[in-house]
């Protein structure tokens, strides 16, 4: 595993843009560079994607390499696997992560296992992009967070960019990776701006970012929850708790080194995730931390995640099940008690 890096200000030419645009940048850049890259998905061509990520690609690269598909999630992932086997570099857009269970078999049983089960004879360089995130009005089939479930399936790489720069850098790495990569893009972050380096900018898969340094307590998090952790950290600072934030950026491979290094220093850890707390990302990371740093820890690894309930439709219900800044602050204070006393 490469060394963890701080969230550095990127070098060279930089442009301010939204995550949505940064992802598009990565697609454009790589499509121009590598004729094997093509994009398929529902409404990705003429319409430019349900969230505008693929906007303009049809015009720039033509309808052979930018293809609107029928509503056939399993089929399109399966086709992409076949095209990847036969030398292409497909990028599939699945409109939202709630639809991943429709192509779960193709992703987890086929793409993920192909390299292994062919004894390394065939690799499947495939990217499956999708949007995730719980918000009012989405409801049970349109606003899930299921990234945690994919962690359990060997053979997949999983990225979950937070900043626009990471969006570009990770997606570029994903397209170039010889293995299947699932890219979870947060609904909450698409519109958030940040500086993005121009040109050939990659961020390695499997390396977390230390988003904020602190000495009292580590918050390990990812996706839209990073912004809540930021807010919580400010509030906690005011109360005398100095928080370190780890933005995972990749869920598989998991950058245990960066996580453990941080917790070895702060001795207190919290994992915050938008997915359900049961059997998800928070569970895995809590298990890893306590397994490795049991005697260093000053308290249990605290999990803050969504309640184990389907994503609701109505705003107050959504608010009630999601982690909140207050919730994070409260849990952090309880955990840090030892220190503050």
């Amino acid at each position: 595993m490469a060394k963890a890096e701080n969230l550095q200000m990127p070098q060279g030419e930089v442009k301010e843009m939204r995550l949505q645009e940064a992802l598009r940048e990565a697609l454009r850049y790589e499509m121009a560079r590598d004729p094997r890259v093509f994009v398929i998905g529902e409404d990705v061509a003429l319409f430019g994607g349900a969230y505008g990520v693929t906007r303009g690609l049809l015009q720039e690269f033509g309808d052979s390499r930018v293809r609107d598909t029928p509503i056939s999630e399993a089929g399109m992932v399966g086709l992409a696997i076949g095209a990847a086997i036969n030398g292409m570099r497909p990028v599939v857009e699945i409109q939202f992560c709630d639809l991943l269970p429709l192509c779960m078999d193709q992703i987890t049983t086929h793409a993920a296992r192909y390299y292994y089960q062919t004894g390394g004879r065939i690799s499947v360089p495939l990217v499956v992009r999708n949007k995730f995130g719980t918000r009012p009005g989405g409801g049970p089939s349109h606003s899930s967070c299921n990234h945690g479930a994919f962690v359990h399936f060997p053979g997949l790489k999983i990225i979950i960019p937070t900043t626009p720069a990471d969006g570009k850098g990770l997606l570029l790495s994903a397209i170039r990776d010889p293995n299947p990569v699932v890219c979870f893009e947060s609904h909450h972050l698409y519109g958030v701006k940040g500086p993005v380096p121009e040109g050939d900018y990659t961020v390695p898969i499997g390396v977390a970012a230390v988003r904020r340094e602190g000495k009292d307590l580590t918050i390990v998090t990812c996706g839209g929850m990073v912004l809540k952790a930021d807010e919580a950290a400010v509030a906690l600072q005011a109360k005398g708790v100095d928080v370190e934030i780890i933005d995972l950026r990749s869920l598989a491979p998991l950058d245990k080194e960066t996580i453990l290094k941080s917790v070895a220093k702060t001795k207190r850890a919290m994992v915050v995730d938008e997915g359900s707390m049961v059997g998800g990302v928070t569970s895995e990371i809590a298990a890893v931390i306590q397994e490795n740093l049991f005697s260093d820890l000053k308290g249990p690894v605290v999990r803050v995640g969504a309640q184990h309930i389907p994503p609701p439709h109505s705003p107050p219900l959504v608010e009630a099940i999601l982690p909140s800044v207050d919730g994070i602050v409260g849990a952090a204070l309880r955990l840090a008690e030892g220190k503050r006393k």
Binding site: G137, G139, H142, I309, P312, H313, S314, L317, E319
Partner: protein, 326 residues
């Protein structure tokens, strides 16, 4: 031939569907409605023709563009409106929104936001009827886009081999979101596929409510008599964008939209009834006004109704005992 009273009732229901969508759109613009709208305007003859031909005990499964289906089957407008607005009095207590509801008291098996997802439910409900020997038929509404989902294929094959009393009502409105049906299937009519499952597939004018009614009635009788499934491809068109906020013009020619508006199912039945001398313009205006007023009332009442508390209940996920069915 349908009697006038029934046809006027269908006319009235079509207006109701339309008025409901218009109100919803207005609420959406005002951000009083959560999630997206999926306007049914232009397709009213399908829902109304089908549901008018069904018996109360018959069942329907619906999809994202479902408001029309369930109003036609007998949904309570207040509960529906509340659900759209995320209110506690909604069909799903605000948990599901308009894409996630279900209520067997009026034969509504449910809908979901996953395209094609409920097609097997109607098929399985028909299986239940067959095993039990009860005589209800089940209708599965689905869009043209749903025809390319694997599970829809699987479900229809089951209906074929087991001769299930199910009617697939495919509303071919020429687009799945922004992708035209011509780009999505390589044949002129998806009804052709029914042959591959061993049952009849018909292509009909989906803007002719009387025809939709008649074909549904035939299919339901066939199903009840053990004759198995029927596939009805109803050619129709959605006037509005795919969802609230989509003008629907980025991928459709203005002329196409205009041409289809000329084929308005409400106008068509209205003009026919007037030509027959069975309806006066004033009567039509009165019906229309009454329906719009009713919807207005419902919306007001819904807007004044309580939101759910900011609380979650882990118990809301599991039934403690069986919910009375049927």
């Amino acid at each position: 031939m349908l009697d006038t009273a029934k046809r006027k009732e269908m006319l009235r229901t079509m207006i109701k569907l339309r008025a409901f969508e218009e109100k919803l759109e207005e609420l959406y613009q005002k951000r009083a409605m959560y999630g997206s709208t999926h306007s049914y305007r232009g397709q009213e003859a399908v829902a109304v023709g089908v549901c008018s031909a069904l018996e109360p005990k018959d069942l329907i499964a619906s999809y994202h563009r479902g408001t029309g289906h369930i109003i036609a089957k007998g949904a309570d407008l207040y509960r529906l409106m509340c659900e759209c607005m995320g209110r506690l009095d909604g069909y799903s207590k605000g948990r599901g929104g308009k894409m996630h509801m279900g209520d067997l008291s009026f034969g509504f098996l449910g809908n979901t936001g996953t395209v094609g997802g409920t097609v097997p439910f109607a098929t399985g409900a028909a299986l239940a009827a067959q095993i039990r020997g009860s005589k209800e038929v089940a209708v599965s509404f689905l869009g043209d886009g749903a025809m390319n989902q694997g599970v829809v294929h699987e479900a229809m094959n089951f209906a074929g081999i087991w001769k299930l009393p199910v009617i697939y009502v495919c509303e071919n409105n020429l687009y799945a979101m922004t992708v035209s049906v011509e780009k999505s299937v390589a044949i002129k009519h998806v009804a052709e596929r029914a042959k591959g499952y061993g049952f009849e597939g018909k292509v009909i004018d989906g803007n002719d409510v009387e025809l939709v009614y008649a074909e549904t009635l035939k299919a339901a009788e066939k199903g009840r008599a053990g004759g198995g499934a029927t596939f009805l491809e109803c050619l129709t068109y959605r006037w509005d964008g795919h969802f609230g906020g989509d003008p629907g013009t980025a991928y459709r020619a203005k002329e196409e939209i205009e041409a289809w508006k000329q084929r308005c199912p409400v106008k068509r039945l209205k003009e026919k009834l007037i030509a027959e001398g069975n309806l006066q313009s004033e009567e039509f205006e009165k019906i229309t006004a009454a329906v719009y007023a009713e919807i207005e009332e419902v919306a007001k009442k819904a807007q004044a109704s309580p939101m759910p508390p900011k609380e979650f209940e882990l118990e809301s996920v599991f039934a403690k005992s069986e919910v009375a069915h049927g």
